[in-house]
Protein backbone atom coordinates (compact mmCIF):
# COMPACT_ATOMS: atom_id res chain seq x y z
CA UNK A 1 0.00 0.00 0.00
CA UNK A 2 2.82 2.45 0.83
CA UNK A 3 6.19 3.18 -0.80
CA UNK A 4 9.01 4.62 1.27
CA UNK A 5 11.13 7.48 -0.01
CA UNK A 6 14.24 9.22 1.24
CA UNK A 7 14.31 13.03 1.27
CA UNK A 8 17.73 14.27 2.39
CA UNK A 9 17.81 11.39 4.87
CA UNK A 10 14.24 11.91 6.10
CA UNK A 11 12.01 8.91 5.56
CA UNK A 12 8.45 9.42 4.31
CA UNK A 13 5.81 7.26 2.70
CA UNK A 14 3.72 7.57 -0.42
CA UNK A 15 0.26 6.29 0.49
CA UNK A 16 -2.95 5.82 -1.47
CA UNK A 17 -5.25 8.67 -0.39
CA UNK A 18 -8.50 6.76 -0.96
CA UNK A 19 -7.05 3.76 0.87
CA UNK A 20 -6.42 5.96 3.91
CA UNK A 21 -9.98 7.31 3.82
CA UNK A 22 -11.33 3.76 3.51
CA UNK A 23 -9.21 2.46 6.38
CA UNK A 24 -10.22 5.45 8.53
CA UNK A 25 -13.90 4.68 7.92
CA UNK A 26 -13.44 0.93 8.46
CA UNK A 27 -11.62 1.42 11.76
CA UNK A 28 -14.03 4.15 12.91
CA UNK A 29 -11.30 6.77 12.94
CA UNK A 30 -8.53 4.77 14.62
CA UNK A 31 -6.41 4.56 11.47
CA UNK A 32 -6.90 8.30 10.96
CA UNK A 33 -5.20 8.91 14.30
CA UNK A 34 -2.36 6.50 13.39
CA UNK A 35 -1.96 8.31 10.07
CA UNK A 36 -1.93 11.69 11.83
CA UNK A 37 0.94 10.59 14.07
CA UNK A 38 2.93 9.02 11.24
CA UNK A 39 2.63 12.07 8.99
CA UNK A 40 3.61 14.35 11.87
CA UNK A 41 6.72 12.20 12.42
CA UNK A 42 7.57 12.44 8.71
CA UNK A 43 7.18 16.23 8.78
CA UNK A 44 9.37 16.49 11.89
CA UNK A 45 12.10 14.39 10.23
CA UNK A 46 11.80 16.44 7.04
CA UNK A 47 12.24 19.59 9.13
CA UNK A 48 15.38 18.12 10.71
CA UNK A 49 16.75 17.31 7.25
CA UNK A 50 16.13 20.89 6.11
CA UNK A 51 17.32 22.33 9.45
CA UNK A 52 13.96 24.01 9.98
CA UNK A 53 13.42 24.53 13.71
CA UNK A 54 9.68 25.01 13.48
CA UNK A 55 9.16 21.66 11.77
CA UNK A 56 11.90 19.86 13.68
CA UNK A 57 10.57 20.91 17.09
CA UNK A 58 7.02 19.66 16.46
CA UNK A 59 5.89 16.86 18.78
CA UNK A 60 3.86 14.18 17.03
CA UNK A 61 2.81 12.56 20.32
CA UNK A 62 1.42 15.84 21.59
CA UNK A 63 -0.45 16.31 18.28
CA UNK A 64 -2.16 12.95 18.82
CA UNK A 65 -2.98 13.80 22.44
CA UNK A 66 -4.59 17.01 21.22
CA UNK A 67 -6.93 14.92 19.08
CA UNK A 68 -7.82 12.00 21.37
CA UNK A 69 -8.39 13.28 24.91
CA UNK A 70 -8.31 16.85 23.59
CA UNK A 71 -11.52 16.22 21.65
CA UNK A 72 -13.44 16.50 24.91
CA UNK A 73 -12.30 20.13 25.25
CA UNK A 74 -13.17 20.97 21.59
CA UNK A 75 -10.41 23.59 21.18
CA UNK A 76 -7.18 21.45 21.19
CA UNK A 77 -8.03 19.42 18.05
CA UNK A 78 -8.84 22.62 16.17
CA UNK A 79 -5.55 24.24 17.20
CA UNK A 80 -3.66 21.02 16.40
CA UNK A 81 -5.25 20.77 12.94
CA UNK A 82 -4.49 24.42 12.11
CA UNK A 83 -0.85 23.97 13.15
CA UNK A 84 -0.64 20.66 11.29
CA UNK A 85 -1.79 22.25 8.03
CA UNK A 86 0.72 25.05 8.64
CA UNK A 87 3.52 22.49 8.99
CA UNK A 88 2.41 20.63 5.86
CA UNK A 89 2.44 23.89 3.86
CA UNK A 90 5.86 24.79 5.27
CA UNK A 91 7.27 21.46 4.09
CA UNK A 92 5.64 21.92 0.69
CA UNK A 93 7.26 25.34 0.34
CA UNK A 94 10.68 23.69 0.80
CA UNK A 95 9.89 21.07 -1.83
CA UNK A 96 8.25 23.66 -4.14
CA UNK A 97 5.23 21.43 -4.66
CA UNK A 98 1.47 21.97 -4.52
CA UNK A 99 0.27 23.69 -1.32
CA UNK A 100 -2.43 22.17 0.87
CA UNK A 101 -5.43 24.48 1.24
CA UNK A 102 -6.24 25.25 4.86
CA UNK A 103 -9.63 26.56 3.74
CA UNK A 104 -10.58 23.27 2.11
CA UNK A 105 -9.46 21.37 5.23
CA UNK A 106 -11.67 23.73 7.28
CA UNK A 107 -14.67 23.11 5.01
CA UNK A 108 -14.20 19.34 5.26
CA UNK A 109 -13.84 19.57 9.05
CA UNK A 110 -16.92 21.77 9.44
CA UNK A 111 -19.01 19.44 7.27
CA UNK A 112 -18.21 16.64 9.83
CA UNK A 113 -19.45 13.93 7.42
CA UNK A 114 -16.39 14.64 5.29
CA UNK A 115 -13.94 14.61 8.22
CA UNK A 116 -12.20 11.38 7.04
CA UNK A 117 -11.66 13.02 3.63
CA UNK A 118 -9.11 15.36 5.26
CA UNK A 119 -6.67 12.46 5.56
CA UNK A 120 -7.02 11.63 1.87
CA UNK A 121 -6.75 15.21 0.66
CA UNK A 122 -3.70 16.06 2.79
CA UNK A 123 -1.99 12.78 1.84
CA UNK A 124 -2.60 13.42 -1.88
CA UNK A 125 -0.85 16.81 -1.62
CA UNK A 126 1.95 15.29 0.48
CA UNK A 127 2.39 12.57 -2.16
CA UNK A 128 3.10 15.36 -4.68
CA UNK A 129 5.87 16.56 -2.37
CA UNK A 130 7.35 13.12 -1.67
CA UNK A 131 7.26 12.14 -5.36
CA UNK A 132 9.91 14.78 -6.02
CA UNK A 133 12.27 12.52 -4.08
CA UNK A 134 10.68 9.15 -4.82
CA UNK A 135 12.10 8.35 -8.25
CA UNK A 136 15.58 9.14 -7.10
CA UNK A 137 15.63 7.00 -4.00
CA UNK A 138 14.39 4.02 -5.99
CA UNK A 139 17.44 4.16 -8.29
CA UNK A 140 19.81 1.31 -7.46
CA UNK A 141 23.10 3.07 -8.25
CA UNK A 142 24.47 6.60 -8.65
CA UNK A 143 25.47 6.26 -12.29
CA UNK A 144 21.92 5.31 -13.28
CA UNK A 145 20.48 8.67 -12.15
CA UNK A 146 18.81 10.27 -15.14
CA UNK A 147 18.89 13.96 -16.06
CA UNK A 148 15.16 14.11 -15.30
CA UNK A 149 15.73 12.79 -11.77
CA UNK A 150 18.50 15.33 -11.18
CA UNK A 151 16.31 18.14 -12.51
CA UNK A 152 13.33 17.07 -10.38
CA UNK A 153 15.25 17.00 -7.09
CA UNK A 154 14.59 20.17 -5.04
CA UNK A 155 17.33 22.77 -4.76
CA UNK A 156 19.30 22.80 -1.47
CA UNK A 157 18.60 25.34 1.25
CA UNK A 158 21.00 28.30 1.26
CA UNK A 159 23.34 27.90 4.23
CA UNK A 160 23.11 24.11 4.25
CA UNK A 161 26.38 23.65 2.35
CA UNK A 162 28.87 21.17 3.80
CA UNK A 163 32.41 22.56 4.04
Amino acid sequence: MAREIDAYGARARLRRPLGIVGLTLLTLGVYGIVWYRRVNVELRDYGRAYRDDRLARSRPRRSVLAIIPGLLLVVPPIVSLIRFVGRVRRAQRYGRSELTSGWLVAVLALALVFLPAITGYVQSTLNELWRRYAAASSSPATDTVSEAELAAAPAPQPGAAVA
Partner: protein, 139 residues
Amino acid sequence: MQARLPRLWAWLIGPEREPHPPPEWVFRPIVGIVALLVSLVLFMTPAALLGFGSWIILAVEVYEDRRALRLPYFWWSSAVGTFGPLVFLMYVQNRRETLANMRPQTAAELPQAAWYADPLGLARLRWWDGSGWTRDVAG
Protein backbone atom coordinates in the same frame (compact mmCIF):
# COMPACT_ATOMS: atom_id res chain seq x y z
CA MET B 1 -7.55 -8.83 -11.13
CA GLN B 2 -5.30 -5.74 -11.16
CA ALA B 3 -5.14 -5.79 -14.98
CA ARG B 4 -8.91 -6.02 -15.25
CA LEU B 5 -9.60 -2.87 -13.26
CA PRO B 6 -7.85 -0.46 -15.68
CA ARG B 7 -9.62 -2.19 -18.59
CA LEU B 8 -12.97 -1.83 -16.84
CA TRP B 9 -12.15 1.84 -16.16
CA ALA B 10 -11.23 2.44 -19.83
CA TRP B 11 -14.45 0.70 -20.91
CA LEU B 12 -16.52 2.91 -18.59
CA ILE B 13 -14.75 6.24 -19.11
CA GLY B 14 -13.18 5.84 -22.55
CA PRO B 15 -9.57 5.98 -23.68
CA GLU B 16 -7.04 8.40 -22.21
CA ARG B 17 -7.27 11.86 -23.83
CA GLU B 18 -5.13 14.97 -23.90
CA PRO B 19 -5.96 17.58 -21.22
CA HIS B 20 -7.89 20.66 -22.35
CA PRO B 21 -6.73 23.53 -20.11
CA PRO B 22 -9.48 26.12 -19.53
CA PRO B 23 -8.69 29.77 -20.37
CA GLU B 24 -6.93 31.66 -17.58
CA TRP B 25 -9.82 34.11 -17.00
CA VAL B 26 -11.95 31.26 -15.62
CA PHE B 27 -9.80 31.29 -12.48
CA ARG B 28 -10.48 34.91 -11.56
CA PRO B 29 -12.40 35.46 -8.30
CA ILE B 30 -15.14 37.38 -10.14
CA VAL B 31 -16.15 34.17 -11.93
CA GLY B 32 -16.74 32.43 -8.61
CA ILE B 33 -18.66 35.41 -7.23
CA VAL B 34 -20.93 35.58 -10.30
CA ALA B 35 -21.51 31.81 -10.14
CA LEU B 36 -22.41 32.13 -6.45
CA LEU B 37 -24.92 34.92 -7.12
CA VAL B 38 -26.45 33.09 -10.09
CA SER B 39 -26.91 29.89 -8.10
CA LEU B 40 -28.36 31.79 -5.09
CA VAL B 41 -30.89 33.58 -7.32
CA LEU B 42 -31.85 30.32 -9.04
CA PHE B 43 -32.28 28.57 -5.66
CA MET B 44 -34.99 31.12 -4.82
CA THR B 45 -37.00 30.36 -7.97
CA PRO B 46 -39.09 27.30 -8.87
CA ALA B 47 -36.17 26.25 -11.11
CA ALA B 48 -33.95 25.73 -8.05
CA LEU B 49 -32.30 22.64 -9.52
CA LEU B 50 -30.69 24.78 -12.21
CA GLY B 51 -28.72 26.46 -9.39
CA PHE B 52 -26.49 23.39 -9.33
CA GLY B 53 -25.59 23.97 -12.99
CA SER B 54 -22.85 26.48 -12.16
CA TRP B 55 -21.46 24.07 -9.54
CA ILE B 56 -21.10 21.33 -12.15
CA ILE B 57 -19.55 23.68 -14.72
CA LEU B 58 -17.00 24.95 -12.19
CA ALA B 59 -16.18 21.39 -11.07
CA VAL B 60 -15.48 20.40 -14.69
CA GLU B 61 -13.27 23.48 -15.21
CA VAL B 62 -11.31 22.61 -12.05
CA TYR B 63 -10.98 18.99 -13.24
CA GLU B 64 -9.61 20.10 -16.63
CA ASP B 65 -7.28 22.63 -15.02
CA ARG B 66 -5.82 20.08 -12.60
CA ARG B 67 -5.31 17.58 -15.41
CA ALA B 68 -3.50 20.20 -17.48
CA LEU B 69 -1.30 21.10 -14.49
CA ARG B 70 -0.60 17.39 -13.89
CA LEU B 71 -1.89 17.63 -10.32
CA PRO B 72 -4.30 15.24 -8.55
CA TYR B 73 -7.82 16.22 -9.65
CA PHE B 74 -10.10 14.05 -7.53
CA TRP B 75 -10.18 16.11 -4.31
CA TRP B 76 -10.59 19.61 -5.65
CA SER B 77 -13.07 18.82 -8.45
CA SER B 78 -15.15 16.69 -6.03
CA ALA B 79 -15.08 19.46 -3.41
CA VAL B 80 -16.15 22.15 -5.90
CA GLY B 81 -18.92 19.86 -7.22
CA THR B 82 -20.12 19.15 -3.66
CA PHE B 83 -19.82 22.57 -2.00
CA GLY B 84 -20.12 24.93 -4.98
CA PRO B 85 -18.71 28.35 -5.86
CA LEU B 86 -17.43 29.15 -2.33
CA VAL B 87 -14.96 26.27 -2.57
CA PHE B 88 -14.17 27.36 -6.14
CA LEU B 89 -13.06 30.71 -4.71
CA MET B 90 -10.81 28.79 -2.30
CA TYR B 91 -9.44 26.85 -5.26
CA VAL B 92 -8.66 30.09 -7.12
CA GLN B 93 -6.66 31.37 -4.14
CA ASN B 94 -4.87 28.05 -3.60
CA ARG B 95 -4.09 27.76 -7.33
CA ARG B 96 -2.41 31.17 -7.33
CA GLU B 97 -0.30 30.26 -4.27
CA THR B 98 0.58 26.83 -5.66
CA LEU B 99 1.67 28.16 -9.07
CA ALA B 100 3.83 30.78 -7.35
CA ASN B 101 5.36 28.08 -5.13
CA MET B 102 6.03 25.74 -8.06
CA ARG B 103 7.61 28.31 -10.39
CA PRO B 104 11.31 27.73 -11.04
CA GLN B 105 13.62 29.80 -8.84
CA THR B 106 15.53 32.70 -10.43
CA ALA B 107 19.33 32.58 -10.52
CA ALA B 108 19.51 35.11 -7.66
CA GLU B 109 17.33 32.92 -5.42
CA LEU B 110 19.39 29.76 -5.95
CA PRO B 111 22.09 28.78 -3.43
CA GLN B 112 25.78 29.02 -4.26
CA ALA B 113 27.78 26.17 -5.79
CA ALA B 114 28.93 23.79 -3.03
CA TRP B 115 28.62 20.27 -1.65
CA TYR B 116 25.19 19.63 -0.13
CA ALA B 117 23.44 16.60 1.35
CA ASP B 118 22.36 14.38 -1.55
CA PRO B 119 18.60 14.88 -2.08
CA LEU B 120 18.51 11.59 -3.97
CA GLY B 121 19.81 9.67 -0.97
CA LEU B 122 22.37 7.76 -3.07
CA ALA B 123 25.48 9.33 -1.55
CA ARG B 124 26.31 11.44 1.48
CA LEU B 125 27.06 14.58 -0.57
CA ARG B 126 26.24 15.76 -4.08
CA TRP B 127 27.69 18.76 -5.93
CA TRP B 128 25.31 21.65 -6.62
CA ASP B 129 26.79 23.83 -9.39
CA GLY B 130 24.72 26.90 -8.60
CA SER B 131 21.95 26.11 -11.04
CA GLY B 132 21.36 22.38 -10.71
CA TRP B 133 22.50 19.04 -9.28
CA THR B 134 25.37 17.26 -10.98
CA ARG B 135 26.46 13.61 -11.08
CA ASP B 136 29.47 14.34 -8.83
CA VAL B 137 29.02 12.67 -5.45
CA ALA B 138 31.16 12.13 -2.36
CA GLY B 139 30.90 9.85 0.63
